[in-house]
């Protein structure tokens, strides 16, 4: 009997704490450990392209996207830390939006749909521009 009561009590405590850790969607509470998405943005010739903003759009999820600007580094690499959810990604390389984009790669684009980001996980997502 005591063991059952203890199990029930533990369950209630775990439920309460887990509820605190889940999100309500309007940001009032906290604790949404991020997942990580990283990779490279590549030109058709395989070269990494710098200066391209990698934009995630939240499709499913209840924590808004942090509005920082993640732009590819010199080798075309990028890393996003994002709240758990499903995202569509868009990459648009334009010299108007970032002078670091080499002229020959201006106007190239890529996208990825329904990319799932899970808490604590790291996944690789490369983009091939066209």
């Amino acid at each position: 009997m005591r063991a059952i009561r203890q199990t029930l009590l533990t369950g209630v405590v775990v439920a309460a704490l887990a509820a605190c850790g889940s999100s309500s969607g309007d940001g009032r509470d906290g604790g949404s450990t991020h997942g990580t998405v990283s990779g490279r943005v590549r030109a058709p010739d395989g070269t990494g392209v710098p200066g391209c903003p990698v934009l995630p759009k939240l499709v499913e999820g209840d924590v808004g996207v942090p509005e920082k600007s993640i732009v590819t580094k010199e080798d075309g690499s990028y890393t996003w830390t994002l709240p758990p959810g499903t995202y569509d990604f868009t990459v648009v390389c334009e010299t108007e939006r970032d002078p670091a984009v080499p002229d020959e790669y201006g106007g190239l684009k890529a996208n990825a749909s329904k990319v799932k980001v899970a808490s604590g996980e790291t996944r690789t997502l490369d983009f091939d521009l066209s």
Binding site: A15, D26, G27, T33, V59, P66, E67
Partner: protein
């Protein structure tokens, strides 16, 4: 600083059980969009959740050489609820040493280029500010770091307020994970840096952001190595415990869906104001994290942090609470 919260400890020791409970919890959860429209009386369950996550903001920081800083203690604010804005002298010599007029690494040209983003709610109502050397636009900084580009705003001669996720990834439990190489460009306008740029000496965020990635505590403060605020001035900031619903605010910053490093603005009313979070339908874009949400008297009441999308109806700011007000005041 490697403390883990009870929630994270449980998640690590009993991941299956916690996942099951979260799944069950999500089945009975109130849809967030409905909550977002529920005005200013949060349900008791949500209020207790916030309480669990820590109702007050609590700071931790590091210096540019990696030394961990103790939480600043602001002046008791029994009567003080505002810090006044300042227009600045306009004289660059008042900024002291360390102001650099080297161009940003990516500076070369500017032009057009509009791409819609998720945090543009309905039509894109943002307008470009070309007179970036006017106050208060010149108090807003284009902020670069080892991680990303953001926006920030001056609140003293050498203190920039921004989003927590612009200074630390959150949830790692370690002060060694702060980003670095911060550089602030006040009033940047494309490739033109009218007041040069400054480096940093200290960076701060909330222990709840570092340990738990709590969206309720997503704020950051950077101490600059120059006194450019003497020249460009700063925004005031204030807190109030009463609702901010209906308050008209402006969110102004550097979105990356527009021409390179250009300053954009949009104003609107606060739709909901919880203890730590403000929601509004003011259009923003990636890169505007850390933008001020300031009222008609140039007092910041929030720090823009997140865009709408998924089940999130509104763009969001971290509200300046009494405890955050005291922290900022203590750092400045």
């Amino acid at each position: 600083m490697t403390r883990l919260s009870p929630i994270r400890r449980l998640r690590r020791s009993h991941p299956l059980a916690v996942s099951l409970v979260i799944l069950l919890g999500s089945l009975v959860a109130v849809p967030s969009q409905a909550v977002a429209h529920a005005a200013e009386t949060p349900p008791a369950a949500a209020a207790s959740a916030e309480e669990e996550e820590g109702a007050t903001d609590l700071a931790v920081g590091v210096t540019s050489s990696g030394e961990v800083l103790e939480a600043p203690r602001g002046t008791p604010t029994a009567t003080t609820e505002t810090i006044e804005p300042y227009t600045g002298s306009g004289d660059i010599t008042d900024a002291g040493p360390n102001v650099s007029f080297e161009p940003a690494p990516e500076d070369a040209s500017t032009g057009g280029g509009d791409v819609s983003t998720d945090s543009v709610i309905g039509a894109d109502n943002r307008t470009r500010i070309t007179a970036t050397t006017s106050h208060p636009s010149r108090t807003i900084v284009y902020l670069t770091s080892s991680d990303a580009r953001c926006t920030g705003f001056l609140v003293s001669k050498d203190t920039v307020v921004t989003a927590g996720h612009c200074v630390h990834p959150g949830g790692t439990g370690s002060t060694s994970d702060f980003y670095n190489n911060f550089r602030a460009y006040p009033g940047k306008n494309g490739s033109t840096n009218p007041y040069g740029s400054c480096g940093w000496t200290q960076v701060w965020t909330d222990t709840a952001w570092i340990n738990d990635e709590s969206e309720a505590h997503d704020w950051g403060v950077i101490k600059l190595n120059c006194s450019i605020g003497n020249t460009v001035g700063w925004l005031g900031y204030r807190w109030q415990s009463a609702s901010l619903n209906g308050t008209s605010v402006t969110v102004r910053g550097y979105p990356d869906d527009k021409a390179y490093a250009t300053l954009w603005t949009h104003s609107g009313s606060i739709q909901y104001s919880y203890t730590h979070v403000l929601g509004y339908a003011i259009d923003t874009g990636a890169g505007q994290s850390g933008s001020p949400a300031y009222d008609a008297n140039l007092y910041a009441v929030g720090i823009h942090v997140r865009g709408a999308g998924g089940s999130i109806a509104y763009n969001q700011a971290k509200r300046i609470t009494e405890s955050l007000f005291n922290i900022i005041q203590g750092i400045t």
